[in-house]
Symmetry: C2
Subunit: 544 residues, 2 copies
């Protein structure tokens, strides 16, 4: 027997249609690239997205073709996404922080046809354009008066293009399983790989994100996605805010503490989301001027683990609740969130913090498990750690053009590349990256856990733990430290400090001091480079 309910394809642009009809005058406030604060609303965004779609069709874009954007979070970036989708095309967000070679590779690999860009990024593209034969037009997201001079051939003015269209356009609605967007993962090895979201997966992901325990803003919220739209879909907020009719506050190119604070305050932001470094800057700025956050209620923090002190400061000094969020590009990106359970209300604050520091619970439509090297499922006991595997309707089943081969097993499990524990209540905690975990005598040692402890020592500025080959134990941990300015902690002092905090066999066999630890473009420690640097390290006698 078939159901007798209405057919309604899960198409992204139905979200903007809803916002236009039911939340027409709700504001989108942006710090423009030109500088001034810009104000618009969902009705106008809708109209301009239609103009944008018309312009794309006129430029020859066909359904299924790919259109790239390299832009900050502004109203114009929002319009282009819905405009591209409404033309039946596929948006491809470019992360301007990628190396030029990577950008070159992914623009050609995705076969991008047109590229929208903020004026900020013209120099990057001028240097690359010669190697990008497929790009028919570079659309500079500015009005005529703000159009900079550029060597780019086929540079078009965004506002001129839109002004030439009347907005009388029917969205080109493709099948719900057709591609909607592409985002490349910046793997530490090999070429970046393209994750291809469908309309269905993006709509379902937005509905996951809408749940109160996940992101969950409502129409009365003022939502600021500080996390860029080119960073894993701004964690879904560019779809979620219009879906629920929330006000949007877009920070543009300015992510410093002062600029963020200014918008938080003037636009009464109640919910915001970004990586920890942004909030470190903000907290410093707040403390510098004895400023408060009377409007802000919740901050979602993801991208890397949230420091304990950050949650505490937001709680105690500002009355703002931090939600820990974990995800990845291949998950659209939401994976888990650190909401507390009802009975945790009985715990004292420090014990609650222990739970909130975990990456958290998986919502409906995100399934997860941990396995050992043989694929055997490990128990949810908060101790066993194994490969974190995920699956669900917003999880990738393959990369664009089959790069990387089969990435899921026959039961659809995708290996996140993370190593994690899951406790009896379902709280997942990342303990390491699979390639960084140290395998010593058949057991695993978490490099991240030791690093987190080591930076607690007053003389330590940064710490990295790597596994190096060992004749007896296969691998043993080496702790690499950048001391704080003027400090020179002894190996003995560090070991004494760690002694009661880790299992005896986790104790790094050696500790070396260095001036600098190498990082990737996105701020992660380059462990591969470290392993190369220390490949000839000789274990001291004590370690033998």
């Amino acid at each position: 027997m078939r159901g007798l309910m209405q057919n309604f394809p899960l198409h992204e642009n139905s979200i903007l249609d809803h916002a236009k009809k039911h939340h027409a005058s709700r504001e989108i406030i942006s710090r423009s690239i030109e500088g001034p604060i810009h104000k618009t609303n969902y009705a106008q965004i809708h109209h301009r997205a239609k103009q944008c779609a018309q312009a794309l069709v006129k430029l020859g874009i066909k359904p299924g073709q790919v259109v790239a954007t390299m832009a900050w979070n502004t109203w114009r970036h929002l319009e282009t996404w819905y405009g591209i989708l409404g033309a039946g095309a596929v948006y491809h967000t470019l992360n301007p922080r990628l190396f030029p070679d990577q950008l070159n590779y992914i623009i050609n690999h995705a076969e991008d046809q047109i590229l929208f860009l903020d004026a900020t990024f013209i120099p990057i593209m001028e240097n690359l354009a010669e190697k990008l034969p497929n790009i028919r037009a570079y659309i500079i997201m500015a009005d005529k008066t703000a159009m900079p001079k550029t060597k780019l051939k086929n540079a078009l003015c965004y506002e001129d293009l839109l002004a030439a269209e009347d907005g009388d356009f029917q969205w080109i609605l493709t099948d719900e399983n057709d591609a909607a967007g592409i985002c490349y993962t910046s793997g530490t090895t090999g070429n970046p790989k393209g994750v291809v979201y469908s309309h269905r997966s993006n709509v379902l992901h937005t509905l996951i994100a809408a749940m109160p325990d996940v992101l969950g803003p409502g129409n009365a919220d003022s939502v600021m996605p500080v996390v860029p739209m080119f960073h894993a879909n701004a964690w879904g907020l560019a779809f979620l805010a219009p879906m629920v009719g929330a006000k949007m506050v877009m920070p543009g190119a300015k992510m410093d503490g002062e600029s963020i604070y200014e918008l938080l305050d003037s636009e009464k932001v109640s919910f915001t989301a970004a990586v920890p470094t942004v909030w470190l800057m903000l907290l410093q700025y707040l403390e510098g001027g004895n400023r408060k956050l009377p409007h802000l209620k919740r901050v979602a923090i993801g991208g890397s683990a949230v420091p304990r002190s950050m949650i505490e400061k937001f709680d105690k000094d500002y009355g703002v609740t931090v939600s820990h969020l974990w995800g990845m590009t291949e998950m659209s990106p939401v994976g888990t969130t650190g909401s507390l359970r009802a009975h945790h209300g009985e715990l004292d604050y420090e014990d609650q913090l222990d739970i909130r520091l975990k990456q958290g619970l998986a919502p409906y439509m995100v399934d997860m498990k941990i396995t050992d090297d043989d694929g055997k499922e490990l128990p949810w006991d908060g101790k066993s750690f194994g490969h974190l595997m995920v699956r669900g309707p917003a999880v990738a089943r393959a990369y664009l053009k089959g790069e990387g081969g089969e990435i899921v097993d026959e039961e659809s499990w995708f290996d996140t590349g993370d190593v994690a524990t899951i406790d009896a209540e379902g709280y997942m905690q990342i303990t390491d990256r699979s390639k960084d975990v140290i395998k010593s005598g058949g057991e695993w040692i978490s490099s991240i856990e030791i690093e987190n402890l080591a930076v607690g020592h007053p003389d330590v500025a940064e710490a990295a733990v790597i596994g190096l080959p060992h004749p007896k134990w296969d691998e043993r941990p080496l702790l690499v430290l950048v001391p704080k300015e003027g400090a020179a902690p002894s190996a003995r002092a560090i070991k004494d400090y760690l002694k009661d905090k880790i299992a005896k066999w986790w104790m790094p066999d050696d500790i070396v001091l260095t001036d600098e630890i190498p990082h990737t473009a996105t701020g992660k420690i380059q462990k591969m480079a470290l392993r190369e640097k220390y490949q000839n390290h000789r274990w001291t006698d004590e370690a033998g």
Copy 2:
């Protein structure tokens, strides 16, 4: 270009699978039909739902066949839904308040194969069984010790059936567009008509309901669906609570103020949902004993319009927020909810109440419009009232077996049978039923609005307004009043009372007193019966 995300059919039982894995020990507390409070959790519900599915397969149920339930909200009713769905079958909820003829009709019309029932309802079914040749088994939802004697042939004991199975069973997963559930609408004319929900529509509806502005409980909530599962899917709560991992509190057969209060208090219920009459009983009980509601935060009220005084009492005396909810069986059932917008925070309390008394805003995936008799769309100005039309993925496109013919137009609009206004901010307010609105000189008069005003008069217990034929104006309103005990208000006094509250041409031409106004089984005024009763009414001269 196709998306490259995972295939994940929107199947109802994935919700219970999620609850079992991620919220295994979260409690389901029920007032059992036998009397005592019963405690279980999602892991056990999952296991028993598997046993139930096994038992159904053993009884010969095939995918796509229909299995009925006539039961109160308890853990067993929850298990049977997921058990039926997990056997690939279709659940059909029977409203025990229907007339026996209607029950007889719908059980045969839906071709129900098996019927689960609480012991409470054995007498109803004993009287009907002879006319129900398709029913292979009546499964009494009790254990052996509580099994009553019954004349029903093929009566089976629920707990015995489950105990015979080991729960080692794979859900039979049918296509997401296959039927999942059936609920008949109790129309005031003709036979009831079956709405056939699909797995997809029910999952999407649950995701709509999960949004913070709709029902929006989280895992820390304790949720009590007082609204019965046989009343439009308990507004989705039987799917929503396990989806988010909320505790469930099931009131069983006892809906009186004392019983409801007892569970609200002992189980620390934070969110609950029911029709206004339940809350009237509760408020009376609370006031009788100076009782408070320290745990309860939100109450969703739907089914009929919420009285202003009820919202005020919950707000001021108990610190509980009332969310006005409107929907219908054909909408799965959520239509609109009365959440406030951010800028309404600036309004004073009475003005906020005016907004909260409206039926509210449509969430994403619910589209609505109002039209005149010719199908022309009317403006959203809060004044124009017209036929309320809706569409979306959880809205019916047809009734079972095509009864009632085409029920949506070529653009999928479904006529709700209600007359409503929509204001500039998107708040919908029901003003009447289409068949009750009074058409006078080409303009419409809302019978409900006049009724609501008339009951404000201190001498009036109940009021009904009907349109009667009129030689000059086509129709004019007649106001029928039940006076309060001992009162006998004059027509003049009532008209004086209404004078400044309604437009002059809305003033009822005549006012008649009566002892009783007839009601339907679900408590609605039977306007058709009233129109018949007063069909020979002669207008007084004044009305001419």
